[in-house]
Subunit: 154 residues, 2 copies
Amino acid sequence: MPGKIMLPIALVAATVATTQAAARAADPADVIEYRQAVFQVTKNNFGPIADMLKGEIDYDQATVEKNAAVVQMMSTLVGDLFPEGTDATPDETDALMDIWDEPDAFADAVAEFEETSVALARASESGDKRQLAAAVKDVGASCKACHDDFRRDD
Amino acid sequence: MPGKIMLPIALVAATVATTQAAARAADPADVIEYRQAVFQVTKNNFGPIADMLKGEIDYDQATVEKNAAVVQMMSTLVGDLFPEGTDATPDETDALMDIWDEPDAFADAVAEFEETSVALARASESGDKRQLAAAVKDVGASCKACHDDFRRDD
């Protein structure tokens, strides 16, 4: 298919070293700003898919596919966004210390977001709204579970 | 190749209607927050590639490819991020009115970012540092040109 590139999914986060992101944005405030941006982009792309399924906005297949691809890509970035030392500015972040105190549990939560996002990207391409709705539900559940455990309540 | 999905490049922005993004984030402040997030993510992924070429951080092929893919995807979002009415909060945005006063020129600038980002993604996959350096220079020039014309000076 012309005009396409292959982007790896699922394994991306596991294969990319965290050191580069940390090297680039060593200032905790910069890392926090960047990770909040990643979640903003995630929210702004996930939200419309959910809204379309709820009928709040018109369903648009191309938008669903594109937005799901963005969410999937953002999910692969999250694992690098909480280096040690980026918990130190509570006024600027809702990240709970459990992220660093329970790194295995947090890694599992991030992996769940990555995996459900891969399923979302695949479902978006299927054009099957039932499959898409299930995938959206799973991504939403992974967001909520991680926020419940690792994010300060609003 | 297992575990991969196809993502369209270059034509994505042209084929996706702007209406969904606008419907989702009709509040100008929300749109501004989202677009600033897109540029944050862009900067944080483009920057390390440039830094690697300058030798400021170690070159890592997987990171270059991943970051370039993120920049390329972000570039496809930009065209939807400046709907009418999102110029009204000068304290929150550096966007100049020329964006809306000269929509054709702005669209050209966005297209230049998209096109140079496609070249960056391709160059990143080539592993050819000369090609990569040329692509980075072109993307950087497209950033600068658009900022010069359409963004308030810092």
